[in-house]
């Protein structure tokens, strides 16, 4: 098998660990808080999680842990969409387990949670894990989106765990997968089984975070990869001075990715879904806003720019949200009728009769190409696949029309030419940044300590992330603490609360403070490709979001600090071409 020079090189990287995790295992003591509460619906959740509700928060600190070296059999699952660093979670877990007891075993379930249901797994050994250290992707064991929900699936999972004599299962996943982990922990206890369940917070979307989880892994690398590309495009736009680039960014529910990329690259416009929802902005208002910026820049003879668009935007625009909901409801009951229609024209007429007047009108405003995307490729539940809607093209089309009418009215005198982009798959499997490599390895190692210390229904938690890695803290958070009840597919279900962009939070405020400047005055920043070697400020910085949220001093004057450091350390010399 041929591997790249960088991959070979990354094998050599030794991820940094919090100091406590580098200590002798028997000295990793456990400190427990008082009982915890869920973020909402405490009474209902207490009933649903009779065994695991209310557990304390756990922090590792210098102390005693006499049982930590016991022999273990652990299974690990990669669940849901890829995020850079997944392999390092497994590596940290593996190294922890083997350090605890060389006779302990780690098994990887193949293809996601279905591997547990079907009992499909492999044992992870040195040779295998060494080929995946510090690399991107989930290809070591594959991933999948199956949920362990039905009684049959739960019974099958219990059966596999029993057969394999598993002491624990680690589920690496996002909010849904960790909700699943919490349920599984509870089911195992109900079945009088000793198999523990530990979750690990994964998602490039960045929406699995709260008071105890500072960030989900993968967000750092993915946003840096997208920012590399956005910066390159900004530089191109500013060189050619003739195109507007509309860039859609992955991130279905929350706009964290778009916001972080905006803070890194300072584009002319970045739409934030949460703001659109808060202000109940219609597509027309969004279009008007974009056009006002384009017109203002045209006044300065700058007929170019860059616009960031979060993937989930259409779901936050009131009239589109309603349209999508009506389409989903309609297809749930009348799919057969709809599927019998053979032309788009027939579909359009049928919809005009079956949708509400408002939604019918909203649908009519869509360009045909986009309208078709609302109808095609529905998911297995018949739902509109929002990720397949080319929102970036929709906006281009609306903006183009509006600018033409503005030109006629004399309120716009520029030239408008555009390109559209969508970045998502480009960043989910990048080689993890040093930050994600370190963070993930620490999360995996922490999961081992939680297991060896007897915890279940916990999420691996590594905190204080804006400080150097050795100052990070490690421990566990009860999964139930992050849960509330939400309406899903027609019934109330326990779920981990998603963290949307907080419109009162520091990252959004920092964006808001600069937005009007960036709109008109070209202020692009070009982050470049992720670097793995070199001075700290080049290869070991966390995201702007994290620095702002944690109030790190470096966020306050990142530029000054970076410059000072680089000068003080003579850092550039290391990277120079001198031989």
């Amino acid at each position: 098998m041929k591997i790249s020079a960088l991959q070979q090189n990354r094998y050599e990287y030794k991820p940094k660990l919090p100091k406590i995790l580098s200590e002798k295992l028997e000295t990793i003591g456990i400190v427990q808080s008082g009982a915890t509460k869920s973020v909402g619906d405490q009474e209902e959740l207490k009933k649903l999680f009779a065994n695991t509700y209310g557990k304390p928060v756990v922090t590792f600190t210098k102390g005693k842990n006499p049982g930590i070296k016991k022999q273990l059999r652990v299974g690990v699952i990669l669940s849901g969409g890829q995020a850079p660093g997944g392999h390092n979670v497994i590596a940290g877990l593996y190294d922890g387990i083997k350090k605890g007891n060389p006779a302990s075993k780690l098994f990887g379930f193949l293809g996601g949670p279905s591997g547990l249901i079907e009992g499909s797994y492999i044992e992870i050994k040195d040779k295998l894990i060494d080929g995946y250290r510090n690399t991107g992707g989930f290809d070591i064991i594959g991933s999948g989106r199956t949920k362990i929900e039905t009684d049959e699936q739960i019974a099958a999972s219990i059966n596999t765990a029993k057969k394999m004599k598993l002491d624990a299962i680690v589920i690496i996943g996002g909010d849904d997968s960790n909700t699943n982990a919490a349920l599984l922990a509870e089911h195992f206890l109900n079945a009088k089984m000793s198999t523990q369940v530990i979750g690990v917070p994964k998602t490039i979307d960045g929406d699995l975070k709260n008071s105890m989880i500072e960030t989900s892994f993968g967000f750092d690398t993915a946003t840096k990869t997208y920012s590399e590309l956005i910066g390159n495009i900004e530089r191109d736009a500013n060189s050619a001075k003739k195109y507007w680039h509309f860039i859609k960014l992955m991130g279905r529910s929350a706009s964290h990715i778009a916001l972080e990329c905006a803070l890194q690259t300072q584009p002319n416009i970045c739409l934030i879904s949460e703001e659109v929802e808060e202000k109940k902005m219609t597509l027309r208002q969004i279009t008007d806003y974009i056009c006002s910026v384009i017109a203002a820049r045209a006044e300065n003879k700058e007929n170019f720019g860059v616009i960031l668009i979060p993937e989930g935007l259409v779901e936050f625009v009131p009239e589109m949200k309603t349209l999508i909901a009506e389409l989903n409801d309609l297809m749930a009951v009348k799919a057969a009728d709809f599927n019998a229609l053979t032309s788009f024209e027939a579909q359009r007429q049928w919809l005009a009769q079956n949708l509400s007047k408002a939604s019918s009108e909203a649908f009519a405003t869509l360009p045909e190409e986009i309208a078709k995307q609302f109808l095609m490729d529905r998911d297995p539940h018949g739902n509109v696949q929002v990720s397949r809607i080319e929102t970036e093209k929709l906006l281009i089309s609306l903006v183009d029309s509006k600018l033409k009418s503005m030109a006629k009215a004399g309120t716009y005198k520029g030239k408008f030419s555009s390109y559209n982009h969508f970045f998502g798959y480009e960043g989910r499997c990048a080689f993890p940044s040093n930050f994600d490599a370190d963070y993930c390895y620490s999360l995996g190692f922490t999961a081992f300590v939680l297991i060896a210390s007897g915890f279940t229904g916990y999420l691996s938690s590594v905190r204080n992330l804006t400080s150097p890695a050795k100052e990070w803290t490690a421990g566990g958070v009860p999964l139930t603490m992050m849960m509330n009840m939400e309406q899903r597919h027609g019934s109330k279900k326990p779920v981990i609360k998603k963290a949307l962009v907080d419109l009162n939070g520091k990252p959004y405020k920092a964006f808001l403070k600069n937005r009007e400047t960036w709109e008109v005055k070209t202020s692009y920043v070009f982050p470049g490709a992720i670097q793995y070697a070199g001075p700290d400020e080049v290869c070991n910085q966390p995201t702007q979001t994290l620095m702002l949220e944690k109030g790190s001093p470096s966020a306050k004057s990142a530029k000054a600090a970076s410059k000072a450091k680089s000068q003080a350390k003579g850092a550039g010399k290391k990277a120079s071409g001198k031989k």
Copy 2:
């Protein structure tokens, strides 16, 4: 102005120069070959370039150059599409000029060749150039696509050069821009002017190369950036195991970019336009080929893959080439008739009456969305804008239909779900790789030596590029040597011959040797992001294309060499996270 940590860091990078260019300037001697000939149409070109035809090839070597320190006034132009390293060409030129004589001046024409025509320029000084060293983009002075062709444009250029008392003009551009440079050199001599003209070979497309030009600058960085993204997507495909990714890559005429990326990333399919043309493959045959690979992989339960598509593909498919030519001819004479049609249906009917039967049928096979792209957004000459045609979506649509019929016939049993991507603007303005940073700086410095040594009508030439930079050779090639006569817009014109992918060349042969394996057996390679610091094999490797063409030993066993080096040097240690 806020700048990124990497940008700050790259300012410190000292580009490597060929040994001869590091010597004292007065010792850079000139060796000249015998008279040269153009690659074709010698008699016609001899007449057209009475002053500059047949000049010798120039090589710098240890010797004497007494006049090199004279005071100079030089103008520089960035022409055409962006390519990583343009700023370093200017930096190398600037540093050379100032080293020669601190009183010499460098002027940058703004917005491309139109800056020369309009006399729009700025003086480049230390502070300005220092803000652009080792960065991507052409934003230091902007670029443009204006050609200096008409008598008025030539007169205006002569006028500017006289007014500014320019000793020389450096044109950084692709084949067209350098054809322009050759003509300008000739015009200046005809006008009894002493202003010299030197070209610099730029284009990410890689199609400006020949016996004396090993590669154009920017190709290295752009292909590495695209390969980073392709590798990430391959890893994603191999993790999720459910999508086929159709990736179109910039490169209008030649498929060098697609081929280089294929050699770097080993995708399942890479279409090569030159092969499609050679074999006169129809869209149907291309579709059948893709479907055969998809079906073969489905047999192995691998319902995923990655397909690379060169941007210019449709122009190499015989029936599409004819269709495009007919559309261009038709629009040239009947644009008014066509533009009066208001619906696509009306346009379709009108075309059915005005195109040949074959082209009419070819047009009818196109999905409506794609068909519209053949008609919209025509360029100022009324030509179809091939770069706007979403070939990747066209192929997805054709493949999807074909697979459905294969499924009915029982010859395909897989699942097909796809995503489309287009990478172009993402790579044209990346921070130049160390290779491009060094190469461009050397090209700029070489341009200075050519100017100071009195040459005109030359292309800056730095060779022996697969060896370490200090072993590179430098000199100049007469632009006329690379020219022949070609039909352009209805008349024969002198042009620099474009280098398409050579189907007998080593890079294509290397691809061919592996193609059948890569189709069925997942053999992905993940190059990762461009690295600027670290061991040689990670951050100082030239392209596979260059290594194969030059027969470098490292190309023959790149893997073994890389591994050996990394072990021998303990290279990984530098990049490790130890502090």
